[in-house]
């Protein structure tokens, strides 16, 4: 038997592979958006799809996000499975009307008669030195809208598996792609793409006993790094990757927190009104008697996303996570 060295794929390439495989497997899958055709998308995630499947299945649309998502609604009503690309996080905002008023609630308002199997791909988050409007973390807006699934991969394997799951889902899925991980690689084998569990399952990325870091997307590598660094201080940290924000995997998260009795939620979107508040509340409600300390949050500051030259001060880094971990040696104030 010969073993051929497999070139590791980047997350962007895994996403491309997922789109290609989904299109090949199901002729109703259509990709559409700005620059997704000839150019292959500004991050090249749709590279080659127009050539392989034709422009009717991978379509350069006019430059109009509300139009892109609005027409996708009609296409889905007629039996297609649109996968739309929003070029950057902040450019999805013109499409919010469609997302919130129609996409998220069509199943509900038709009493189940008109489900919309639409996947909305949104590159999100900072850390790539993008200018204004290219670094927003908009997950809280999506999470606050019932009827949407909200998923975000942090590993190359999950990028492939979760996107396949999202496209196959009969419900609309907001698929958040952490842009600063687009070029990351791990041991995922592009020759043998693997499946993942259905949407809604978190995963423990690192087992530990002293405290649990709960995170997702772009913050996962930062948390893993923090966990390594914490060893020096005698802290053995567990790291949970949520993968799916909606539905939320209370079971995995709570089991992890109960094991350690301490938890820090880490994400780069703003703390106030951000996803961490919801997550901390859920943990507290379910694990109160197991907690040795309050659930802490390490998040971006409550600011409009700063200019790139200052973003390193905004993004939660290893030190801020370690500081929070230190604060978990909680003693009730008298």
């Amino acid at each position: 038997m010969t073993t051929v060295a497999v070139k590791p794929a980047t997350m962007a390439q895994a996403l491309t592979r997922a789109l290609r495989d989904a299109m090949a497997a199901d002729p109703t899958v259509h990709v559409m958006g700005e620059d997704v055709g000839t150019l292959g998308g500004v991050f090249r995630v749709t590279d080659g799809l127009a050539k392989e499947f034709g422009e009717d299945r991978c379509t350069d649309t006019p430059l109009a996000e509300a139009g892109i998502l609005g027409t996708a609604v009609g296409m889905a009503m007629y039996g297609l499975r649109p996968v739309v690309e929003m070029q950057f996080d902040a450019f999805a905002y013109p499409a919010f009307e469609q997302l919130i008023s129609h996409v998220s609630r069509m199943r509900n308002r038709t009493r189940g008669r008109m489900p919309l199997p639409i996947t909305v791909r949104v590159p999100y988050g900072g850390g790539i030195g993008g200018v204004e409007h290219h670094s927003d973390s908009s997950e809280a807006y999506y999470m606050a809208t019932p009827g949407l699934h909200v998923v975000t991969p942090a590993t190359v394997a999950d990028a492939y598996g979760l996107l396949r799951r999202a496209i196959a889902s009969d419900d609309p899925v907001v698929f958040l792609e952490p842009k600063r991980l687009y070029w990351s690689k791990d041991s995922w084998n592009p020759e043998h793409p693997t499946d993942v569990e259905p949407i809604g399952r978190a995963v423990v990325r690192r087992a530990g006993r002293s405290a649990t870091l709960v995170t997702y997307g772009p913050s996962l590598p930062v948390c893993l790094e923090a966990a390594e660094a914490a060893q020096a201080e005698g802290w053995d940290l567990e790291v949970v990757d949520l993968r799916s924000l909606v539905p939320f995997d209370d079971e995995t998260v709570c089991a992890a927190v109960r094991r350690t009795g301490r938890a820090v939620v880490v994400h780069e979107s703003t703390g106030f009104g951000g996803p961490g508040g919801e997550i901390a509340a859920r943990i507290t409600e379910r694990c109160f008697h197991h907690l040795e300390a309050p659930v802490l949050r390490v998040a971006g500051f409550d600011l409009p996303y700063p200019p790139p030259m200052l973003e390193r001060h905004h993004l939660p880094g290893v030190d801020r996570i370690l500081d929070a971990v230190a604060r978990l040696q909680w003693e009730a104030e008298s």
């Binding site: 700005e34 620059d35 055709g37 000839t38 150019l39 292959g40 500004v42 350069d60 649309t61 006019p62 430059l63 109009a64 996000e65 509300a66 139009g67 902040a90 450019f91 905002y93 013109p94 030195g129 993008g130 200018v131 204004e132 409007h133 290219h134 106030f272 500051f301 409550d302 600011l303 409009p304 700063p306 200019p307 790139p308 030259m309 200052l310 001060h313 905004h314 030190d319 801020r320």
Partner: protein
């Protein structure tokens, strides 16, 4: 028995006579983009104006090459070059009076600079420094807008407010061909026409929205045709002919100032560079097309006219080039200095009155910075 069954009794009345609200003919753009340079119309152009346009074009071209070079040195996060489109940008600024307002999109730094904004401040956003490098009120230039077409309703609102106050201020809003597909474009044009707001919309149709050609953006005969449906005039102009763009824009500005309402101007031009320094234009267009447009260069067109009519000589051209070189040298030098950024500024302009949460976060960052400083101090101390 239904009405339909009462044979003979049913006499459908004819619809009331339909009157179009206005004759659309005067609103329609010409079939061909309007040109001045190289035509009879050039004789009527003011020589001083042509020379001013020329000097600004030469400067603008140099600004584009300099800023593109600065991206290669990592001094700018990104630069969307407007090479080939200088005539639109310069004419946009020169068509306005001082009291008027300009609403630029992210590619319009030249228009911003031609309005008098410091060339370095105009690049602040693109350098990765603060979002709006300049004070919008100082030169009546709104911040560069990155989300496409979203600045257009702002221009309408400002122009409307000025008129309500009795000021004869005009707003000129710039947008690309791609941006005309956005819903905000529609809403802005509609508001402007209904309110008869003193606004001029200039579409720089440079052929592409990143990779997407105009044919995939619109099925309209021209983008200028879109005006008619809103009830405003649409004008089509050769965007590489600085004299023509200036003339058409100036007429639209005068029309607006006089209470005539908005105009939509489409300038047909071409982006000879890639979308930004990060874009690979060979993926979506061929060299022949670019070469054809390079042969219709805005600077060469104007220089040829000025030379043919004896309005400029070699020395004057050399002087314009020298002035552009000086501007570029100063830009280079100032951009090569590291900007001084204070991270604490992050918290100062979120709200007029800061919140308790932000004060806490400010203190956290200050503590981190102090610790960093101390750490550096120790390291330096140890090295000594």
């Amino acid at each position: 028995m239904t009405v339909m069954e009462q044979r003979g009794a049913y006499r459908p009345s004819p619809p009331p006579a339909w009157q179009p609200r206005m004759d659309p003919a005067p609103l329609l753009p010409d079939a061909e983009p309007y040109r001045v340079l190289g035509t009879e119309a050039a004789a009527k152009a003011d020589p001083d104006l042509l020379r001013r346009l020329h000097a600004q074009l030469v400067r603008g071209r140099r600004y584009n090459t300099q800023a593109t070079a600065l991206t290669k040195q990592g001094r700018l996060a990104v630069y969307p070059s407007s090479a080939g489109q200088e005539a639109c940008q310069v004419a946009a600024a020169l068509a306005l009076e001082e009291r008027d307002w300009l609403f630029p999109s992210y590619r319009d730094t030249l228009a911003v600079v031609a309005r008098g904004v410091d060339p370095v401040e105009a690049l602040t956003l693109l350098r990765g420094d603060w979002h709006s490098g300049y004070d919008p009120h100082a030169h009546r230039v709104a911040p560069l807008s990155t989300p496409l077409a979203t600045q257009l309703p702002h221009a309408v609102g400002l122009a409307h407010a000025a008129r309500l106050k009795g000021d004869d201020v005009v707003a000129l809003a710039l947008v690309g061909d791609g941006g005309t597909s956005e819903g905000d474009f529609h809403e802005a044009l509609n508001f402007a026409a209904v309110w008869q707001a003193p606004v001029v919309f200039l579409v720089q149709n440079n052929g592409f929205a990143i990779s997407v050609p105009l044919a995939k953006q619109t099925a309209a005969p021209s983008l200028a045709h879109k005006a008619v449906g809103y009830g405003m005039p649409g004008r089509l102009v050769d965007g590489n002919d600085a004299a023509a763009v200036h003339e058409v824009l100036s007429a639209a500005v005068r029309h607006a100032r006089a209470g005539g309402g908005p105009t939509l101007v489409e300038a047909v031009t071409y982006r000879v560079d890639a979308h930004t320094n990060a874009d690979d234009a060979t993926r979506y267009r061929g060299d022949a097309e670019v070469a054809a447009w390079r042969a219709h260069d805005p600077i060469e067109l104007l220089e040829a006219e000025l030379t043919a009519r004896g309005l400029i000589d070699e020395a004057a051209i050399a002087a314009a080039r020298q002035d552009a070189e000086d501007m570029a040298a100063s830009l280079r030098e100032r951009m090569n200095q590291d900007p001084e950024l204070n991270p604490m500024d992050l918290f100062d302009h979120v709200y007029a009155q800061t919140t308790a949460q932000l004060r806490e976060q400010r203190a956290l960052l200050q503590a981190e910075l102090d610790a960093e400083q101390e750490h550096h101090g120790e390291q330096e101390g140890g090295a000594r």
